[in-house]
Structures are given as structure tokens and as C-alpha cells.
Assembly symmetry: D2
């Protein structure tokens, strides 16, 4: 693991997720660039001192040289610190599991892409919401035509934690880097908008052809967007909207997806992810549960416990790690895993939204 | 009443709504332009034969001349047939209660506006959703600052009844006129989009300064929009979206309003209108019920029965009629009633969306 | 109307309900036993002075004698005042529409039953919740076997308005008579428990064979039950529970019905009455909406407006009045209307619960 | 671990739960009484061959003798197989974490209790639902008086998987032992009723003084109860009901708890466990989320990720394992852990219900 030392947030999530299905052990880390903090963090996590690095380049070199070297590295640093480690490990031939978005700038993204191209190692982006069983179920249903031709996609991801300018408080490390243009590259757009964008792409299989965005920074003194309204046009003629906001009081992690086709519609919300509605035109709406009645084999494949016993965010995340293990060991094809292409697509989304909005709200095509 | 004869839909709704609070009696009507149908429809409704007209002009003249002439006329014809009767009754000095949208074309709308200007009679537009107690409650809460400065408005009205091109079936009279450009003037935009637009304006008191629309006609051979995605910019800097659709399977009358300010957010859905959530930043979200605990006087004023006993669409509609009675009798000021200005605003909304979309999706300012 | 003068509650509800479908006009009343209050109340309601009575016996006599006498009388007095007027009007040959429960005591109930027996006039009890379209839909579904053999019935009606002993406040007239043993005959049991009992009987068509009740009076100084837990055994071997409470904070009018058979289950809640779930074993649960997709003719018959536009409490109540009009005019068979048998059944339920609980919680059979 | 070999269900759940917070490693097991199956199951789980036992007595002896012997054993066998291993490990001085209910018979339960009494080792029962953060939050709120004096408790746990007699199919191992009187000791009552009973006791801190039960076996040929209706009387005068059913179509794991006091009420459902409503009398109902706004320190203590990112069944279960680790290491007091007393209380509940029902439904006191 690179990043994820004391005081970090998402690193701990990755560690739990990787443990759930007992497919990974954490044995090495460059958990902080501060040597002392790296050492103490490694101690906390029972990493042997000789595999507790303070420099990711050294870690890549050393682990590549060991016979019992790591199978993969998790990169859980802020966005602007993805490219450096990703490239170092890819060049060392070590598989990379990287937090999203791909990078803070298009240039960094392209450098990673080049390194992926040049390396035999795998690159996996943790768009974890694609691990929710019902999202995979939805993808299957759409693929086999249950919704008919898709016409409409309404995606949103609303939070409220940046309603006030908490980043100026000094002690809010998460808020600070996520609202720093250089470290984050974008605000709500990159932090959560890319999740919504990735998820709708994953579930529908449709490509956005053009978009138009209206971005705002409502927080006093805020230097990145905290609200994004985006219109979407898809290659097949479908239309959609994507709303990402961190200033909508009452929303914790309101990632919601609604998809309507010529034959049926589906609706899902991340905060109660074990339930989805499926509405075939002219019939009563159905409540589809994770692993529940009538799903066929679909929804049961990525689930650990019986229906009615809720799985949550960590389990969905775990599925990404488990799929990654299968891909790396050759026991699975990783067909559902987010790749470098997902990452580049997300970077296009961020950049296109920013260009559209800076132009006063104009259409931007691929 | 003008319109609303046998086979009509909204006329019956107006009649029930007007009866609920026992403030109106239906005593005269030009229920159809077909004399025989007008006669039979009047008979159905116990209207005396001498007050059963087949021509609205004759009705306006005759009722104006009677000592016991009508206090007001309800106009419940298709959109392109609002201007004629509205102007006739206004000129005869008779108060007009008119279905929405104001008209099928901007020209018709201006003619009505001129007639309102020239007449001492009242003009009331039945944007009935403003009669829901919790929408009036929301308006009060926003007015007194409970939400702080408004930043975001997410409005939508989704239906599914035009997912297939049912208007071509021949026997679907409602679908036929509502998808006929000359009779309706617009599709989803006019039929339901104007409701969402009116409601968000009513509740927030904010003015849309500019908008950008992406309209679609998904139904095969359809000549009006059946889906509208609209970005909104408000005078105070707030941003919003409005989505109106008649092709979203699983949606019956999904009118939903979400409003977020610097201090709190509210969310409401028309299909379960006796409940609204209110989320003050940093506190648990509250479930506010119609007439329920903790509302102050607000929510109780426009309600007939105790909380937990649901009131619905007809009761909200009835409140418009009751307010209208009070306004006309001078026992109320009608401050909450939709007026000719609401109607003209709705016509601007329709026209601006159409112009924006025809230009490929460009911003249109007032 | 007998009762329902100034300051009364349920009388106004009956008046609105009777108006909604335009089948009744209020033309006479003994609205109060206080002559002055009767006169003023009649004036409020535009009842002609010669038909504003202060004595129900006089009213029964006079109206029976008039050629344009009333078609039916609504009795909306407290429970102990049902028998007197009901018998008087039945003896005068005038149809009676009576509020529930049938009476305050078994003796009164028997006297009414005898009068019904002896009269050619109709007797209808306003168990209004049977007028909700989805409850009639549920009844149809059960009748035609959609649920298989019924095994379990979970009924409840929970409120919170008597959590504190508000009846001692002096100015709470509703609380005062409803907690007065002589006027009400029972507490939560009679006021709301009989509604739940009637509704489950109506929907399932099953007969309770034996019951066991644990009644409580939690309110300080309260002389009637404010909470009732009842176990039910049905003739066909089904089991159930009925919970009625007026001391459950957070419940406004929480009337809920859940029914499970060998093939499927249904669940419904009065506070959002336009929605019901139907769960066929081994298939996804369905969201059945009032008048919505896939119902067949059932749910549409007793509804006024399209699905997604909610109807509420008053519309359900109106359906009882409309069915009553049809029954009296011979244009309907009144097959779904609550009758004197429903009333006697409810009185058995109250008495059996009281006997069971007084014995410390023993089984009581029919 | 004892039990939990190939083909078992709950063992895998315990293993995931124990891993989530990285506090336990599985290093030894008697996973099956069949030696070959024990060996293969151990291999699956990377247990060293010398610590893969086929006899739990041998395992207790051997592990007690090792310097690196296990810190605790998980017993995940069917109910009738709890006593044997529990006693063996307790006698060997090894801490025991045991699945619920405590045993299949009162005699077995007493034997375990005696062994706990005689041993210095800890005994922990995995009533995992007490690990849900909001249930611990509710307990805290009740303890500090937020609900006032508790008056009413409505608990239920409804499933539908035994609606048909699937245990006769031959290949349904879970259904087979759970409906076998000797292996299970009781049906729905033991399998899920004890969970509801334990949870209500945990949350309210109230003691059931007397109960009355009506048990049924609806499934054709079924030898244990599949539905239980139970009336409860608490020491403080509160009343309640508990409903456990495995024959209610549409219910997956419908564990629900509703508690009402003199000052407020709370409602919670296990299927969406990150949300609870709190209704202070006379104020709007609040939606309390796991870790969300306004909770004080309470709800955040037993949670891993931010509010709005759902935690589920496995995380709640993990909290039990983590608390157990803290108790055993002395880094926590285990105050919230279910103990042998919880187990004996559950056995009393099962036995009392059975005696009450066999007597035709009579009250049974402690």
C-alpha cells in the first residue's frame, strides 16, 4: 500500500475491503512520505520493519526484487499523487490497484496510461460502486434487453459536508486536499461526479458523446466546484443528466441512478443498496432485492449472505478486490473491473465539464 | 364551466374540487361545442336547460345579463381553446378560473393578458399543486429563512404514459390532443413541465433568469417533446434543473421538488404529498407531516382532517377553488393564487425552452 | 344529519365525503341537542330554518311526513348517542348511515339490531377504510385466491394523541368523550381497534373464532383502555394479532394491514393508501398502485383520478356514501357496504376483548 | 472454529466477521466430525494440517497445551451440538464464542452454564444484531431517558423461506436441521424469535416477567413451530408483542423493533439498518442515520465508514468479534456483549413459549 498512514481515510477502507474475502494480506507499505510516520503506521498494521518503506520508488524496487514480493500495490494517496507511484510500480512489473479519479491532471493521466501500455502488469481503478451486486445485476438486465433501448439516464451523487467552507478550519485534512485545485484537480466533479459517471457507463454500456456543464463554487472562498449540473447526450440518442453536489443539506452519500428504456425502467440508491426497483411498462413495479427472489443467477454471484441481510459499502468494495485477485491469479477474467480506460474516460468527463462551464455552458463533444 | 362535457377528463376533476369545501355550485355550462353533446352533458350534471349553452360567447353574454348570473367560469378546454372563452368572460366582467398552461401560443397568451388588464374581473390559473398544504408550508419556511439563502433547486415531473406512441391508437383522446402541436403548443413541457416550473417558483419565490433546454421526441412519429432536460439559473445566483418526461417507465405522476439552501434542505414528492423531509444542516433530517407535530400554524391552515389521514390531489385542487371563492367574495386576499403573471411566466418557460433546444441547446435569458 | 354541529369533528368529514361524488345534499339536521346551537349550526350549513331541528325524534317524524323528506340520515354523535336516533329513524322508515362503533354498550347495539330487523329502511355503518380502492382490490385478490389459503393476519392501528392525559385539560372535547366510559364504551379498542378489526374481516372474509386480549390504560387517571394487544384465531386455522394504541409516539393514524397466505402476502398502510405491496412467493415483491398498471379492472372501479395522483381519506369515505346512494336508489347492490352485522361483529370484538382482559388474559370464543 | 466445514452456512459468516477489523486469525479448527471432510475444509481455509482436528475434544486438549494455542474458539454447529464443545473448551480454559441459541434443550443449557461458572474462560454468545450501531445508539438513548418510561415494545422477525415444506426436499440441509426438533430444539422461536427477544432486551434493558404464546406449525408435516405470536409483560408494567414467522411471503429477514415511551418512540428495521426514526412527542419525527448528524458520540463508536455509506450485517457481526477481542485482551470491558445470561434468558423464552402454547395459550411467569 502506498499512502493510507495514520490520519488517512480511504486507506483503511481499502484494507478492510481487501480482507473481507480473505484474498489479500497486507505485507508491505510506503504509508507516508514522512519516514517516522511511515514507520509508526506500518507498526500499527503489523507490517514487518524491513518492508515498511518511506519512499514508494524504493518500495517498488525492493518488492520487485524479493522472491516473496507483493502481488499488487494499492495506491490510496490524494489524486495528484497517483501518477508517481502508479508509474513506478508498473515499470517494476507490479500490478496496481489505484484509487479514483485516475489523476489530478490530464497530463498525469496520460503518463499513467503510457506506463500501463508499456507494462505487463495489471492496472485496476477502484470505482467501488460497480461492486454492488444490484449494479451488476442491472448491467446484466440491460445487456440482455430487459429495458429495451435505453432513452434516459438520470444520475446523481449528492452530499452536504461542504455546505459550509469547512476546509478553512485548518484541522479538516479531508476537506483541505479535496478543495485544493492542485491536489484534487477538481471538486465535487472529481470526488463524486466521476463515480456517478463511471457507474452509469458501467451499468448501461453507453458512451457519452457530448456534454454541457454548469459548475458552481458556492462555498465562500472555495477554489474548486462544489456543485455540477451536467447534461449528457449518448451515442445511441439517449439523453441524461448528472448532478454532483457537496452542498445539498440532508444528503450523506446520495448516489442514485435511474435508467429508462423503451420497455422498462430501473431505480437504485446507494444508501439502501440491497434494493432496486424494476418497472416493466404496463406492469406493477417490482422490488428487486440483492440475492432475492426471481433474479436468476445474476444478483447472487457477488454476494456473501442471504437476502434480507444487508451487505453494504465495504462488501461492494471487497468485490473489486476479489475480482482483482482472480484476474491476477488467472482464476477470473476481470471483465467487470474498472480499467485504465475507465480512468481516462473519467478524466475526459472532468475536463469536458470544466471546459464547457468555463465557456459559459456550451456543448463539448468527444 | 366551459368544456368538460362527456368524455373529457379534467373537467370532472374541477367539479369535484370545487364541491369539496361547499363553496361553489355548478349552475351553467357550455360543456361542448357540439350542441347535442352540450345538452346531454348538462343534463348529466343537473344543469337547468336554460343555462346549458353550446356556445361560450352566448353563455358569457347571457350569464352577465342574469341577476343570478355565475360568479365565475371554469375553463377546462384544451390549451388552444383557453383564449377565446377567457377573453369573452373577462370582457363580460365575469371572473375566470382557467386550466393551465395559459394558452397554446404566446400570441394567445398576450391576448388573454390584455383582456385581464382591461377587465375588473379576476383571472385565476389552476396550478393546483400549489394547493398542497406542505408546498405552502415549504413556501412559508423559505420565506422566513429556515433554509437560509437558496442555492439549488431540483425539480422534476416524470410520467410514463407516452412511452409508446399511444396517440396513434385513435381512441386515446387525451393522448391525441396533448401530442398535437396546434392544440397543445408543447408536449411534456406544457403539460407537466409548466407545473414543475410554477411550483418551484411558488415555493422558492425565486425568478429564473436564464435557462438551457435539451428537448426530445422519443415516441415514434411524435410531433411534440416528450422529454425535457432544462438547466436553470436564478437571479440570486442559485442553480437548478428541471426534468419533465412522459417516457420514463415506472413513473405515474412523479412530481418531485428538492430545494437546498445554506442552512437546510427540503424534499417532497407529490405521490405521497402528506410528507416532506426537512434537513437542517448538522441535525437529523425531520419528517414533516401535513398538519403534524411541530409545524407551527403553517401547515394546518389549508387542511381539513387530522394528520395521518391523508389528503390528496383533489383536496389540494379544492384549496385553489376555495381561495378563489374567498378572493371573489373579498373574504381572502388570494395571495397564494396563481395569476395571469404565473401564466405568462409559464409561457415564457415553454417558449424559452423551445428556442434554446432548437438552437442546439443554448442559454436563453429573459 | 344528527350531531355534527359547531365544535364537532366527524360531522364535517361526513359532509365533505357525501359531497365529493355529488350524490347527496344536506337539507335537514338535528345538529345539536342545544336548540340555539342547533339553529346556528344549521345556518352555517345553509339548512332551511324549517328543517333545522333540535330534537332527532321530531326530525324523524317531520322528515318522514314530508313529500321531499330526506333519503337518509347521517348519525355522527358520540357512541352512546347512536341507538336513540338510529332507532327513531329506522322506525320512521328512513335509511340510516351511522358512524362507528355501532354503540357504547351491547344492549344499545341489540336494540339497534332489532330496529333494523323490523324496518324496511337500510342501515349502513361508516367503516370508511373499506372504501380505500386498494383495500377493495386486496379483498378481490384474496377472494380469487391470489394469496392461496390465508395463514396470518397482522393488523394494527397506532396513534399517539393520548400519550399524555390530554382529556383532563378541559378544552379537549374529542379526548374527553372518547375517554369517558359511558359515552364511548371503550377506549382505543372502540375508537380505532374496531376499524382494524372491521378492515381485516372485510379484506380476508375470515371470521375470528376466538381471541385473547391484554388491555392497558397507561394514561394517568384514564378510565378506558388506551392500548390493546389482541391475539386472534380464525375459523380456517389462520392466526393473527391486532394492536390498537393511542399512546405510541410518532404514530398519527398508523392503520396497517399485513396478510400472508400459502402463495403470497400483501402489506398496506393507511397513511400512504395509494400503494400496496404484493409478494408472490418466489417472485419479486410488486408495488401495486391505486389504479395503476397490472391490476385488471379491480382497483380502478372506486377511484376518480389517474394513478399517481393520490386520493386520500375523504375519497375513501366518499365511496361509502356513493355506494349507499346506489344501494338506496337501487342502482347498486351495496355488497361492499358495512351493515348491521359488521356493527354487531365489532361490538362482539370490543366485549370479548374486555372480558378476556378482565379475566387476566384468557381466550374467549364466540 | 468448531463446525463450519464445507457445505455449512453460518461458519463462513463468522469467519468474515472475525476478519473485518483484523483482530482475529483462524489458525485451528475441528470443522467437521467427518475426518476427511475436516481435513479438506481445513485445507480450504489455509489451516495448518497439525491444527486441523476432527474431534473437538482433541482440539481443546491440544490447543490448550500449545504455547501458541488459540485465544478463543468459535462454535458454529447446529444447536444440539453447542454444549459438547462449549464445555470441553471452557474446561480447557479456552474462551468460547458460541452461536445462538445457547442449546437445543434446557438441560444442555444448564450444563453450559455450570461450565461457564466453573471456568475462568469467557463465554460470548453471538447475538449479532446487538452489534448494529443504531441498536447500540437506541440502547444509549433509552438508558439516558430520551424515551421517558418505556410502555410498549413491538418486536418482530419475519421470513418466508419455510412457507413451503422445503425441508422434505432432501437437499436443503439448512431447512432440514432447523426443522428437526432434536437438533434445533424449536423452530422459528429458536432460530429467529430468540434474536428478536435478545435484541429487545438489549435495547430496552427491561425484563420480561410473563408471556403468553400461540405457536403454529403451518408447514405440512412440520414438527417445529414456524410461526409464533407472543404477548409480553415487562417488570416495569410495559407491554409488548413478539412475532416470529418463517411463513410470511415477501419477508426476507424482517427483524423490526418499535419502542414507545412516555416521551418518544423509535422504530428500526434490520433490512435497512443504517436508518432509525426517533419521534419525540409533539415534534417532527427524526431520521437518525448511522454516524449521521446530531447523534452525539453514540452512534459513531461502532462504525468504520462515514454516514451514507451503508454498513450491513457482516459489519454488525464484526463488532461482536472485535468487542470479544477487546474483552479477552483486557482492552475493553465487553459490557455490550451477550453472555451466558443472555443465553439462559433466551432458553427461558423458548421454553416458556412452548409451555404456554401447549397449555392452549396461557400466561407463564418467570
Amino acid at each position: 500500500m502506498v499512502g493510507g498512514g495514520r490520519g488517512a481515510f480511504i486507506g483503511a477502507v481499502h484494507r478492510i475491503a481487501s480482507r473481507i474475502d480473505d484474498r489479500w494480506h497486507l505485507v508491505a507499505g510506503a504509508l507516508s512520505s514522512d519516514p517516522e510516520r511511515a514507520r509508526l503506521s506500518a507498526e500499527d498494521l503489523n507490517i514487518a520493519p524491513d518492508r515498511a518503506y518511506s519512499d514508494f520508488r524504493e518500495m517498488a524496487r525492493a518488492e520487485a526484487a524479493r522472491e516473496d514480493g507483493i502481488d499488487a500495490v494499492s495506491i490510496v494517496t490524494p489524486n495528484h499523487m497517483h501518477a508517481g507511484p502508479a508509474i513506478a510500480f508498473l515499470e517494476a512489473g507490479i500490478n496496481v490497484i489505484c484509487d479514483k479519479p485516475l489523476a489530478a491532471t490530464p497530463e498525469q493521466a496520460q503518463q499513467i496510461a503510457a506506463a500501463v501500455q508499456a507494462s505487463k502488469a495489471r492496472f485496476i481503478l477502484t470505482h467501488n460502486y460497480t461492486g454492488y451486486p444490484l449494479m451488476r445485476q442491472a448491467r446484466e438486465m440491460i445487456e440482455r434487453g430487459d429495458l429495451g433501448e435505453i432513452r434516459l439516464i438520470q444520475a446523481e451523487y449528492a452530499q452536504d459536508w461542504l455546505t459550509e467552507s469547512v476546509e478553512t478550519a485548518g484541522d479538516n485534512k479531508q476537506a483541505a486536499w479535496r478543495t485544493n485545485p492542485e491536489m484534487a484537480g477538481a471538486g465535487a466533479l472529481g470526488d463524486i461526479g466521476t463515480h456517478a459517471f463511471n457507474l452509469l457507463s458501467f451499468v448501461t454500456g453507453l458512451k457519452v458523446e457530448a456534454l454541457l456543464a454548469d459548475l458552481q463554487s458556492f462555498g465562500a472562498g472555495r477554489q474548486v466546484d462544489d456543485n455540477a449540473h451536467v447534461l449528457l447526450r449518448f451515442a445511441n440518442g439517449a439523453r441524461g443528466t448528472l448532478w454532483a453536489s457537496q452542498v445539498a443539506p440532508g444528503n450523506e452519500n446520495g448516489l442514485r441512478l435511474r435508467i429508462y428504456g423503451t420497455k422498462a425502467g430501473i431505480e437504485w440508491s446507494q444508501e439502501n443498496p440491497n434494493v432496486m426497483t424494476f418497472a416493466p411498462l404496463g406492469q406493477p413495479k417490482q422490488i428487486v432485492t440483492r440475492g432475492g427472489a426471481g433474479l436468476g443467477t445474476g444478483g447472487n454471484r457477488w454476494t456473501r449472505i442471504p437476502p434480507g441481510h444487508p451487505e453494504g459499502y465495504l462488501e461492494g468494495f471487497a468485490t473489486i478486490y476479489t475480482d482483482a485477485a482472480d484476474l491476477i491469479l488467472g482464476t477470473g477474467d476481470g471483465a467487470l473491473l474498472p480499467t485504465i480506460e475507465s480512468g481516462l474516460d473519467g478524466m475526459w468527463f472532468i475536463g469536458a465539464c470544466q471546459r464547457s462551464s468555463q465557456a459559459g455552458g456550451e456543448w463539448v463533444s468527444r
